[in-house]
């Protein structure tokens, strides 16, 4: 159980996709016009993240290494389609306001990134909690940005009007999204600078170059990985025997706790 708590904390705080890794910027900017939209998008992504992590972790020894990216894409796209139709059927209002951004969860860096970095190397249960943690972290990020934009731009919180406040309309429009995110990252950078000064180390600031790694490495820049060892099934098991042992121990711990 410890591992589950650790995974959720990792997603919510240590490696929060919005505030620490600054991943998945398209939905972060596009759908955060209100807090409700942020929650809707965040929870949809969470569900897809959990399901795809579960599926990918379960199939991790079956999927050949060379074609793993297309396999992940198919799995993620299937769950995206399911969630899209569920929203259309049961929450048509939300589905309308999120528009094509629900379908575009397929290309969200966070999901393929977690598949590549965690689910493809770990057991099913930790992967599910990893998805849950990351998804909740993303939801918290989107919702808080949504709340800020809604207050500044529309003068409401979750649809409730704030009295005596004249809203600045630009914040719910496209430019407001860029400006809010710019200030958010600047504040995070300032925090990191202060921490680094206190510890006497060099601060890791968010640079634009960081963003490249999301479309390059974690999102599978290549459809078929020609550099990967050919046709190896269960490649992780062959390649990293030490790690496998560790995982087994962790898995046993999880089991005894249950």
């Amino acid at each position: 159980m410890n591992q589950a708590v650790e995974r959720i904390k990792n997603g919510l705080v240590t490696e929060n996709p919005t505030f620490v890794q600054i991943l998945g910027m398209c939905p972060t900017l596009a759908v955060t016009t209100s807090a409700i939209n942020g929650i809707g998008m965040g929870l949809s992504t969470t569900v897809i993240l959990i399901m795809s992590n579960l599926m990918i972790a379960a199939l991790r020894n079956v999927i050949p290494n060379r074609v793993r990216i297309p396999a992940y894409i198919v799995i993620v796209a299937s769950f995206v389609t399911i969630v899209d139709f569920l929203l259309q059927a049961y929450l048509p209002g939300l589905s309308e306001s999120l528009g094509s951004y629900i379908k575009l969860i397929v290309v969200n860096c966070i999901i393929l990134g977690r598949a590549e970095a965690y689910a493809s190397k770990n057991k099913v249960l930790p992967s599910v909690f990893d998805g849950l943690g990351m998804g909740l972290g993303f939801t918290v990020g989107l919702t808080s940005i949504g709340i800020v934009r809604e207050i500044l731009g529309a003068g409401t919180i979750f649809g409730v009007t704030i009295p005596y406040y004249k809203p600045i309309g630009i914040f719910v429009l496209a430019p407001g999204a860029f400006i809010v995110l710019a200030f958010l990252i600047a504040v995070l950078n300032a925090g990191r600078l202060r921490k680094a000064k206190a510890e006497g180390t060099e601060a890791k600031l968010c640079r634009t170059e960081d963003c490249l790694h999301c479309s390059n490495a974690s999102c599978g820049g290549r459809f078929i990985d020609f550099e990967a060892p050919e046709g190896v099934i269960g490649q992780t098991a062959v390649k990293k025997p030490e790690k496998k042992v560790e995982e087994k121990n962790e898995e046993q711990e999880v089991r005894t706790d249950e």
Binding site: I22, M25, C26, L29, A30, I69, P70, I73, V74, A77, S78, V80, T81, D84, F85, S100, K103, L104, V106, V107, C109, L112, I170, L173, A174, P175, G176, A177, F178, I179, L181, A182, F183, I185, A186, V187, N189, A190, L193, L205, C206, R207, T208, E209, D210, C211, L212, C214, S215, N216, C219, G220, G221, R222, F223, I224
Partner: protein, 196 residues
Amino acid sequence: MSDATKIILIAISAALVNNVVLSQFLGLCPFLGVSKNMKSAGGMGVAVIFVIAISSAVANLIYQFILIPLNIEYLQTIVFILVIAALVQFVEMFLKKVIPSLHKTLGVYLPLITTNCAVLGVALNNVTDNYNFLESVVNGVGTAVGFTIAIVILAGIREKTEDNDIPLPFQGTPIVLLTAGLMAIAFMGFSGLIRL
């Protein structure tokens, strides 16, 4: 409205009014990541035009002649993303063999485009808006031209402001995002330019 005017309006609307980066937030990763200088921004822009033009044409043909006849329109997201990803890799291999000089210029950018949400976004929007083959291609090229305009302008501004004295926390991504925000305000001036 005649067909020709409609086509022109689609192109202008895609390139300027509903600019793909500045009002739809698609393709932000390359927009922020490859805009350090004009040369690479231009290269990225051309590569995006190339890929979106081909992919919106192919996606439209697949939708019309495979998905609709088989009654499996609901698979569009899965089919489109696979087709686009495969297509980008195929284009890369084709260019490497046939036009090596072009591959040298575009090569580094092509793999980055695979998961660029703009490409999938255009293909999906073409279906939502019921565009036919020609309209899809025009919308695709228009969107990509809009992307190129935005990224080249941003790269131009970044080249000029590179050595400016910016507060430390704002250096890097925040100042680029603020610049993009100001550009988005400028691009809002195009809204209301035309009505489809």
